[in-house]
Point group: C2
Chain length 417, copies 2
């Protein structure tokens, strides 16, 4: 058996009515790509047995691997197992071991098991049972002729470990190529300019391929290689990345397979420096993004959301006459915030951010999207003015501000090494 | 013409390989539901002309309204317009007005227009042009027999305003029912118990329908009514909500169509109180969620991410001997953080959070997911201990902590009214 083409079929009326964003499909797509299994098409279908049966049977004709998510729960509208059994011409059989695991799940959590959970102990005859370490519904892997059908539970917290621990190891043997992608992280030069410099190289790239794309505040190049082994594919990527580093793009590369917050944590760790943040319009996003990085506790002293003028003055020692004269959206306020948080938290590097994330609060002179970002380090402070655009959403303005704060910290550290 | 059934078709290889999460489908699904247009099925397809043509022509047979997103860009792999034109047997024609708008878009932004943007000025013969206020690719609305095909650009920031401002007003006249949903927000009682109390009521509900579901830290009931007008449907929902309030569930309802952070901001605003947060393991998430609520600046003094012990001691005045003896994951530390931030920021209500979000840092006695949440108000402080579970992800533990912090603030305010 050889798995070359897959289809993902997500079952659930809650997806069709927009109550749930289908993150499973994106996650599984990435996993399939990494195994060299391609997809032409993906579908979402409601909790309707007849339509599901038709779709399963049609879809099976066009793929080697069918991954179905959702509809394994205990209630009457969970119909995936029953429907797939029918399409494959198999019976559902009660499995004592699965039943024991379900009972055990409830016992360990000191929760009462309801009668309808018993339904989850029925499995498709002959299928491999995929253990659910995070919930009650087991998954199933059915081999049928030259094809494989995998049934996974809908909640991502159950689906992801089940795929990683029990499905991937079983299907890997049927894949003869492994795909590895590496991202080259670039700041200070736009996607179009990157594409321009690497035009020739990108056009001639077959394996690995090179593709540029945009991320908030930065440009990325995705280098993707396929080979027999992961190691071989990774080495092929590295070789191309070395070539890229030799071009004009080289000086703009700040990392490989990283992101701005991670790069900041890494640089600070390397230098043994501590950082602290004073945020107004970003409302703590910058600190949150730093704490998202594992190991950040070694470099983050802490952060402050200084929303009101009185907190800027009381806790950060921003000059009250400055606040009175110029209001909070001022470059000196940003600098004093960055310096104030350094003092308060005894940090080496301070970030100070003040501006207007909208939707309200803009003026003609200082419209929505108007932001000052200051960085204090080693008794020097720098401050930059940004206009992210009045039509941008509040979230987007905050993301752009955070990205640029990290860029400015990296820049500051680079210049003072 | 009457629009009853829709299909959403999202075009883009970047979705199939998992680079992009398909948020457009969820957003459009909600919009369609609100117009009483149902969906049985949704699909994603790559940038391949032949497969796209087949899918468009098949899909059109099963619906009255086909909404296609993506593939309207300027590059060679943007093929939606050409392909749909072919399926509908129409020509592409160059539109001078659209071309002017595109040129204008670049002129206003002082950016250079490239030759391939000219491609975006071609439209399907006879189609209504949907203005793109946020980008260069116009959308198209084609009426063909008794069906409508809508082409929208892929970026959500362009798609959403285009749908709201130009598509919805045009198709509304073909919909004879409007759907309105209202959410009843409940804390302190689980989904199963809610379903148990309302069993009879839910079973007998036809229009409006009542459906329970879980959200982080809370239970929700979605009440959905359909009627000729929005006002009528809304009134029908309100009537059912009044009935629900009279049941045992009533005392657990904290709001309608709100969320925990919003409810906290509302309660604080009503009482004229200011809040401040001192967060360790949540890394600023609580402050961020408060600042996400429009109007929160009136109640949020500010917040602090007090990650290191030295910041807890220096900035929040947490007892250093307490930190030395018990470490940071201690109920007294949480209380002193809540009280310290109140003092520092001159706030009325303080939240103090300390715990272990993981993945590392857990011990047998205090495993990952172990969190203390303290609330200080009016010279009283309360503190609660939580064990959110060792297997939960870092993000999930933080979300649960934030939700419970808000629940505790609401509880504290309720008890002191």
């Amino acid at each position: 058996m050889k798995l070359e083409r897959a289809e993902i079929l997500c079952v659930g009326t809650e997806i069709l009515i927009g109550d749930i964003i289908n993150t499973n499909a994106a996650w599984l797509s990435k996993e399939l790509s990494s195994l060299g299994i391609s997809q032409y098409h993906q579908a979402v279908i409601g909790d309707n047995s007849q339509r599901l049966a038709e779709t399963v049977s049609d879809t099976l004709k066009n793929c080697d691997l069918l991954v179905i998510t959702g509809g394994l729960g205990p209630t009457y509208d969970d119909i995936t197992k029953e429907t797939v059994a029918k399409v494959l011409n198999k019976n559902l059989v009660f499995d004592e071991d699965v039943y024991y695991d379900i009972k055990d799940f409830f016992r360990k959590r000191e929760r009462k098991m309801t009668e309808n959970n018993r339904k989850q102990a029925y499995i498709i005859e002959g299928a491999h049972i995929l253990k659910n370490d995070m919930g009650t519904a087991p998954g199933l892997l059915c081999e049928t002729g030259e094809k494989i059908v995998v049934l996974l539970p809908g909640p991502p917290s159950e689906l992801m470990p089940m795929w990683t621990n029990y499905v991937k190891p079983q299907i890997q043997k049927y894949c003869d190529k492994i795909f590895v992608s590496k991202n080259v992280n670039i700041v200070g030069i736009g996607e179009a300019a990157v594409a321009d410099v690497l035009d020739e190289m990108m056009k001639n790239a077959v394996n690995p391929t090179i593709a540029p794309y945009c991320k908030t505040g930065e440009t990325r190049l995705r280098v993707t290689a396929s080979a027999k082994t992961k190691e071989e594919a990774a080495a092929m990527c590295d070789e191309v990345i070395e070539e890229i580093k030799k071009t004009k793009i080289g000086e703009y590369i700040y990392g490989i397979d990283t992101d701005l917050a991670e790069a900041v944590v890494k640089e600070l760790t390397k230098r043994g420096l501590k950082i602290a943040t004073a945020e107004s319009c970003t409302g703590g996003l910058i600190a949150k993004m730093i704490t998202d990085v594992p190991g950040s506790s070694a470099v983050l002293e802490g952060g402050m959301v200084a929303y009101s003028n009185s907190v800027k003055y009381r806790a950060l020692n921003v000059s009250s006459s400055l606040l009175d004269r110029h209001g909070p959206y001022d470059h000196k306020v940003a600098v004093q915030m960055a310096e104030g948080i350094c003092r308060l938290m005894d940090a080496d590097v301070g970030i100070g951010v003040t501006g207007i994330a909208g939707p309200g609060g803009g003026t003609r002179e200082k419209p929505v999207g108007f932001v000052y970002i200051a960085v204090a380090y080693n008794k020097k402070s720098s401050v930059m003015k940004y206009k992210f655009g009045e039509k941008q959403s509040r979230d987007r303005i905050r993301e752009l501000t955070a990205a640029n704060a990290f860029i400015n910290v990296l820049e500051m550290l680079k210049n003072q090494k």
